[in-house]
């Protein structure tokens, strides 16, 4: 194939495409457009959910709870309408109530989910473990268009995955979809070129470090607030990027862990291995 275009132009074009994405996504980082604040009153829980068991038992024992339905419990927290980017957080929650429940109130359960995913990934890797061999039949090489296209798309997809799990407490999404999107980008790299291998040591280090970071954040909560995976950071104002305490930290850890695990699964499934025990 004749190649007339100088290499500089290709690089400039790729830089241009990635730059448009960077500008768009970073604009979304710094400014919250209009449609964000619409349903916040429905998406943030108004009631303070009692994390203190002793208070809850006292309320239950005194009979207020059953006598008038939910009313006495509701009366303890004064009702204020929630305004986007103005109201201070009443609780540990985020602008996205699903994230608030999944990571904060039910954080231990999320640790269990991550463990389940880790076990599944190690099961796949154990099943397909073996020595790397050359494939028997000849594989078709992908064309130049796919090679360049997947490499440009990888940058965009990686950026968007990071956007999803960094913004987990503001928009729908979070660690698991973000990690899956990142792993899909790495799958695209596999499709673009035959014989692509990622850095295995890097994947291992990423996965273990992010898993350790999750537990360490929980332990900091245990030693400072007397409860495992309790929030130890200020909660800020609803809707800001630095708002929901430690939720974004945990989501960054989960995103890196899920992404590297799923990438390792894809890698071990796509490579040709030969069993060593047979």
């Amino acid at each position: 194939m004749k190649n007339d275009t100088p290499k500089v132009f290709k690089s400039i074009f790729a830089l241009f495409v990635v730059a448009i994405f960077m500008i768009g996504l970073f604009y979304a980082f710094v400014s919250m457009p209009k449609g964000w604040g619409v349903n916040v009153n429905n998406r943030v829980s108004r009631l303070y959910i009692l994390k203190n068991v002793r208070t809850a038992t006292r309320l239950l024992d005194s009979g207020k709870f059953f006598a008038k339905g939910m009313k006495p419990l509701r009366a303890e927290v004064p009702y204020k309408p929630i305004k986007f980017k103005k109201t201070a957080n009443l609780e540990d929650g985020a602008a996205n109530v699903v994230t608030s429940i999944v990571v904060d109130y039910r954080g231990f359960d999320t640790l269990g989910e991550v463990t389940v995913l880790f076990l599944a990934a190690s099961g796949v890797m154990m099943l397909l473990f073996g020595k790397r061999v050359k494939p028997k039949r000849k594989k078709t090489e992908p064309s130049l268009i796919m090679y360049v296209g997947t490499r440009i798309a990888f940058a965009v997809i990686f950026l968007f995955g990071i956007y999803i799990f960094v913004h987990g407490h503001l928009t729908p999404g979070g660690g698991f979809p973000g990690g899956a999107v990142i792993a899909s980008g790495i799958l695209g790299l596999f499709l673009g070129r035959n014989g692509y291998t990622p850095n295995h040591a890097g994947l291992k280090v990423f996965e273990s470090l992010s898993g350790i970071a999750f537990v360490i954040i929980g332990l900091i909560g245990l030693f400072s607030v007397k409860s495992f995976l309790a929030n130890f950071l200020p909660t800020g104002i609803i809707g800001n990027l630095y708002s929901a305490g430690f939720i974004s930290l945990i989501y960054i850890a989960i995103g890196m862990k899920v992404g590297s695990e799923l990438a390792a699964v894809v890698d071990s499934m796509i490579g040709d291995t030969k069993e060593e025990w047979s």
């Binding site: 796919m146 956007y163 999803i164 729908p172 999404g173 899909s184 799958l187 695209g188």
Partner: protein
């Protein structure tokens, strides 16, 4: 929103896009070869991405645009995987 869009226009958009989705689904179902099914899948996902963008306007929530973005990314990779399988390059 800057202007109020009349209801009849919403209805026309929804009806036309639903018809398009059904046509693409039929091609994905009855396609004689596997390649035809992949083409049906590709078109289906593209049409549906446009549909979700319009729905983000209908519900007026910015967050739903990012769902459309995820949709576009994942459909692109899915079609690419099946194409690589068809040309025996995987």
């Amino acid at each position: 929103m800057r202007i109020e869009i009349p209801t009849i226009l919403w209805a026309i958009w929804f009806i036309v896009i639903s018809t398009a989705t059904i046509l693409a689904t039929l091609r994905a179902v009855i396609g004689p070869t596997n390649s035809d099914r992949v083409v049906g899948l590709d078109t289906w996902t593209t049409i549906t991405t446009g549909f979700w963008v319009i729905l983000a306007l209908f519900f007026f929530q910015f967050v739903l645009l990012s769902v459309a973005m995820v949709y576009a990314i994942l459909s692109f990779l899915g079609v690419l995987v099946i194409a690589r399988y068809l040309e025996r390059g995987l």
